[in-house]
Symmetry: C2
Amino acid sequence: MDGPTSRKPVILITGASGFTGSHACRYFAEQDMQVAAVVRNLPAEAAPDGIRYYECDLLDKTKLRELIQTVAPDFALHLGGKNSVPESWENPLMYLETNVLPTIYLLDSLRSFPSCRIVIAGSMLVSPLTPPFQPPHPYNLSKSLQKAAALSWAGLFGQNVILAEPSNLIGPGPSTGFCALLARHIAAYELEGKIETFKVSSRTALRDFLDVRDAVKAYDLLLKKGTPGQTVRVTSGTSHTLEEIVATMMSIAGSMAPLEWGKEEGAFAPLAVQPCEPLAALGWKPEIPLETSLRDVLEYCRLQKGGRT
Amino acid sequence: MDGPTSRKPVILITGASGFTGSHACRYFAEQDMQVAAVVRNLPAEAAPDGIRYYECDLLDKTKLRELIQTVAPDFALHLGGKNSVPESWENPLMYLETNVLPTIYLLDSLRSFPSCRIVIAGSMLVSPLTPPFQPPHPYNLSKSLQKAAALSWAGLFGQNVILAEPSNLIGPGPSTGFCALLARHIAAYELEGKIETFKVSSRTALRDFLDVRDAVKAYDLLLKKGTPGQTVRVTSGTSHTLEEIVATMMSIAGSMAPLEWGKEEGAFAPLAVQPCEPLAALGWKPEIPLETSLRDVLEYCRLQKGGRT
């Protein structure tokens, strides 16, 4: 029988079938960790080596608690949640429930494993929960409450929680972010000569894009060496206008899919680029160039399109 | 048939069978309003004139939504929730769920009634939800999140929400506060010569006590004339030491039930008395003297004890 010393470290990953989650599962399995991948629906294909899937709706606190007792994780990476601003206006209650409750259910269940080190993926789109209490949209409110609840809970019960605030993560996989939508549009145009135009909200809006694979490495460092109680931005440290992104992607694609630019209304204030000091101190820096990320996004979308149609 | 103009204004009251809730139901029924009293379990006795009971667990969002559609309230007073600090350590998750979720379920359902004016009973025991995120206990965290969620939600959807922060409410009825526990101890001693001692944490701890009937009048004013978005403390404006309370209650009772005083550890920092400017501006001031409140608490406990044993 294996004694505890020969046991591989176990990492629980929620949102495991999502964009970041699927990268994280592969990455940690390759790091020789045992990955307990929590998914809403079991995938059709067999789990890769080192990954075991657990079917659980994160709002089912009883099932989640049982699962965590079974898994006995050494690390937990909470990626589950919803992240569409427009959808949050359509169903604000669902956003509050989905982004706040599983975080608390997870932390409550992990009180049985006090040495478990936990990283929660928050968002840069948060507001201070102080008067006059004006988050701009329900998604922001849900992530602001998630942050306050998680860090306060960790303080009350002495749990090792770090809140990671990623910027716009890009790369191959099932993303619904701007770069993925643009690449899908280009791939559809290439394949079908589709003439529907793609609307880009602004030429000048500045965004920080980070490859999802660099983000997962940052989560790994935070899980192993981060300072509990900290909020750590996970960003590339460089901003690009949407116009630059479009130009780079079109140049990689070698095509000119039709686009429509939104009227500049100054509504898209640039997110100030924040340096990632705590991550830099741990030896992390983004390694994948923007061009590589965009190329990989486009390749992924071309393959998806080719496979689907 | 009654037209809409002849309809009495409808007030929805949650936590209606609780200490403040039972006073509020009577008060608003006497104000010639139709009271929709939400209770977890229907009472055995028939509802008094002007009050109609609705059985609903406030965590059952579907039932709550249906109830609110039926009732179509003009006003809503949310008193439901849990308020024991020690119990919140035993079941922190229940406290977070019970104090935060019904508030959001209520507000979400009331979006169908945009002119509804809403008062939510918060607590003076709240902390700012800002770094380093250190609420002293899960009850405080639950009420801090409730406040942030309610006022932020109101801001997002333009709902008329006022957060009332009552001090220690006292008066006849099923309270579990200090004065009620002390009065029960005295009543038990009178009836049974019970010699079990009652522990008072501190002689010098300062607390603000307000008669629950004065608080209900304040809620009435806030519902009708308060400024949406505001947080309003509902306090007597006068602090008393626990020793003063004990001495007054003993003097009213004319008995000396055995007491034990806790060691002064400076752990009970006085809650700074906050003036109630917004309420004073609306013409409110506390009317019931402390002695009357304490006398009524004692009378209530004597009757309860007499009836029970």
